[in-house]
């Protein structure tokens, strides 16, 4: 009701000035969104219908690009690789992040030191970590095989073995779970301590307390981590580009890498744009699904 009354009154000069300033100060964002998001996305819709190498003029081929990508075995390969990396990798990443956060949520000495150590890898330049991990995975003199040898494990070929290369990338991704861990830690610290203590007095085991009190309160944070990690994981690029270039036998050819190769090595602009739309649709689909399922398991305080 009050808004109706407000609307009928003519805006005063002060109010008009505020409207003007509001739009004016928001304009960088609005211009940015138009020039760097909406414009390119619209242009990309046009690009999808073209065959264009950036040298000769573009040719209209209708839905030809989508026909081509449906028949391209490397598209299936890269989609499969990306799905493997995401749907196997992300749950493991979140589990590790959660375990680390729970450990750091205990009342122990040196918490902030460990937090620093677990977080440092996440801020290391991606190229530098890729270069280091190439060395760590080296079958002959890499650290990993050196350590495994102590336990009597035969040398693993890691990035040179098509069956092990993707798991190796997942292993490496665990090194960068710092941000997810910090988000979990913030969530854990918002669990009311009295609630846990009351449950303990009532005789609930540690496990029961975790599932019945901690997890529900943590669920919005878990949901956020899940959505963000999946969006990020679907777009993995730098590590694969630097470490394997997509090999061995295309085992680490991920979607964004394949888009890059088509666009900037083969200059198939229309084809690369079509691939990007496919990946875009897949990511949006899974984000949407997650939001849809979320009300079944995510608990929001105050929303009964």
């Amino acid at each position: 009701m009050p808004t109706m009354i407000k609307r009928r009154r003519r805006p005063s000069g002060v109010q008009l000035a505020e409207w003007r300033d509001g739009w004016l100060y928001a304009s960088p964002f609005l211009i940015g969104v138009t020039v760097f998001w909406l414009g390119p996305m619209l242009y990309s819709l046009y690009l999808v219908t073209q065959s264009w190498d950036m040298l000769s003029p573009p040719q209209f081929i209708g839905l030809g690009n989508f026909g081509a990508l449906a028949a391209d075995p490397l598209v299936q390969k890269s989609l499969g690789n990306t799905a493997f990396f995401t749907f196997i990798g992300v749950p493991i990443q979140l589990l590790v992040a959660l375990v680390l956060a729970i450990a750091l949520n205990q009342n122990i000495r040196g918490r902030s030191f460990y937090r620093t150590v677990f977080y440092l890898p996440a801020i290391t330049p991606a190229v530098a970590s890729a270069v280091v991990w190439t060395q760590i995975f080296n079958p002959d003199y890499g650290v990993l095989n050196n350590i495994l040898r102590i336990f009597g494990v035969a040398p693993v070929k890691w990035l040179f073995d098509p069956n092990v290369a993707k798991p190796a990338f997942i292993l490496m991704s665990l090194w960068g779970v710092g941000p997810q861990m910090v988000i979990f830690l913030a969530g854990l610290q918002s669990v009311p301590q009295q609630l846990l203590e009351a449950a303990e007095i009532d005789g609930a085991t540690t496990w029961q307390r975790f599932w019945s009190i901690t997890m529900p309160i943590l669920s919005p944070v878990l949901f956020f981590n899940l959505v963000i990690s999946i969006i990020g994981s679907f777009q993995v690029f730098t590590s694969a580009f630097v470490m394997t270039g997509g090999g061995p036998q295309n085992a680490t050819l991920f979607m964004v890498l394949y888009i890059y190769l088509n666009g900037f090595r083969l200059f198939k602009m229309g084809y690369a744009a079509s691939l990007a739309w496919v990946l875009f649709a897949i990511i949006m689909f899974f984000t949407f699904i997650q939001f849809r399922i979320s009300n079944r398991w995510v608990y929001y305080e105050g929303k009964v």
Partner: protein
């Protein structure tokens, strides 16, 4: 951090542990020691790659391939660091990285303060719709604009310049604006009152009254923007082609591809690239943690 301290103090204050029977106390102590041991092992594991970079950067070319690994080289080759500056245009890479990072970060901070202020403290028709658009762009995967923005920059004649790497930041990153808006919304309403009575315009109120109170949010945005610009690889890879214009990450990649077996030098260059980030992290650790927590709690 205040919450953690409170939790710690309430735990100490309960005193329940003293009255508890011995076996339980003992069990707790064992669990505590096990946790400590696990954290030490995990902490060391997480440090191994970084230790490896530094260790390798001080070896000779031959020592790199020795098995078992020599963690501390017998005679550290500090000259490796001199050598990379001689055989690589490393000084140019550093300068380029600084230009892109400083200009990009400056743009992110200024634009997010301005747009954040508009969304948090001014009332205007359409504001809620603009905010919804902002949240939507935070969720959009950037890959879809990869090809068309490249073509856009080609038409603008921006290829092989730094412009594509920092100009977009001057139009506000969605995540930074969001952070700034969330922070500004928490400021008390009275902040503007004094300025309004003095007859100050909204622009003066922003820079003289609001912005000075936003130190923590500005620091957080600055740090994240710094990291994004400094660590960016895909951008420089696509847009830069002249060697002397490369940023540090692209320079390291280029060098590693050309002289792949010179690992000790690649690692020395990597150490040079990693060092500023680590220094920044230790100098501003709390802002990092705060920023991630702010972003994480945005999901609630």
């Amino acid at each position: 951090m205040a919450i953690a301290d409170q939790v710690a103090s309430t735990r100490k204050g309960t005193g329940g542990e003293q009255r508890a029977p011995m076996p339980r106390q003992l069990r707790r102590r064992i669990a505590h020691s096990a946790l400590h041991a696990a954290l030490i092992v995990l902490g060391f594991t997480f440090l191994v790659p970084l230790l490896w970079v530094i260790s390798t950067s001080l070896k000779t070319a031959g020592q790199v391939f020795i098995v078992p690994v020599q963690w501390i080289p017998t005679t550290p080759m500090w000259s490796n660091y001199k050598e990379i500056f001689e055989i690589l245009p490393l000084a140019a890479f550093i300068r380029n990285s600084i230009i892109v990072t400083v200009l990009g970060t400056l743009g992110s901070v200024l634009s997010s303060v301005l747009v954040g202020y508009s969304l948090a403290r001014l009332r205007w028709p359409g504001r809620d719709a603009v905010f919804a658009l902002l949240v939507a762009t935070m969720m959009l995967p950037g890959v879809v604009t990869l090809i068309p923005t490249f073509i856009l920059y080609k038409y603008l004649g921006w290829l092989d310049t730094f412009l594509p790497l920092f100009v977009p930041s001057w139009f506000g990153g969605a995540f930074y604006i969001f952070l700034m808006r969330q922070f500004m919304i928490g400021l008390p309403f009275e902040v503007e009152e004094a300025g309004r009575i003095d007859g100050a315009g909204s622009f003066r109120i922003l820079w003289q009254l609001i912005a000075p109170l936003c130190g923590p949010a500005i620091a957080t945005v600055a740090i994240f923007s710094f990291l994004n610009h400094y660590n960016d690889f895909l951008g420089p890879l696509i847009y830069l082609s002249t060697n002397s214009k490369f940023t540090l990450p692209l320079g390291i990649y280029w060098y590693q591809g050309r002289y792949g077996n010179q690992w000790h030098l690649v690692m020395a260059a990597s150490t040079v690239a990693i060092a500023p980030v680590i220094v920044l992290f230790f100098a501003a650790q709390n802002y990092f943690i705060q920023g991630i927590q702010l972003s994480g709690l945005a999901g609630r």
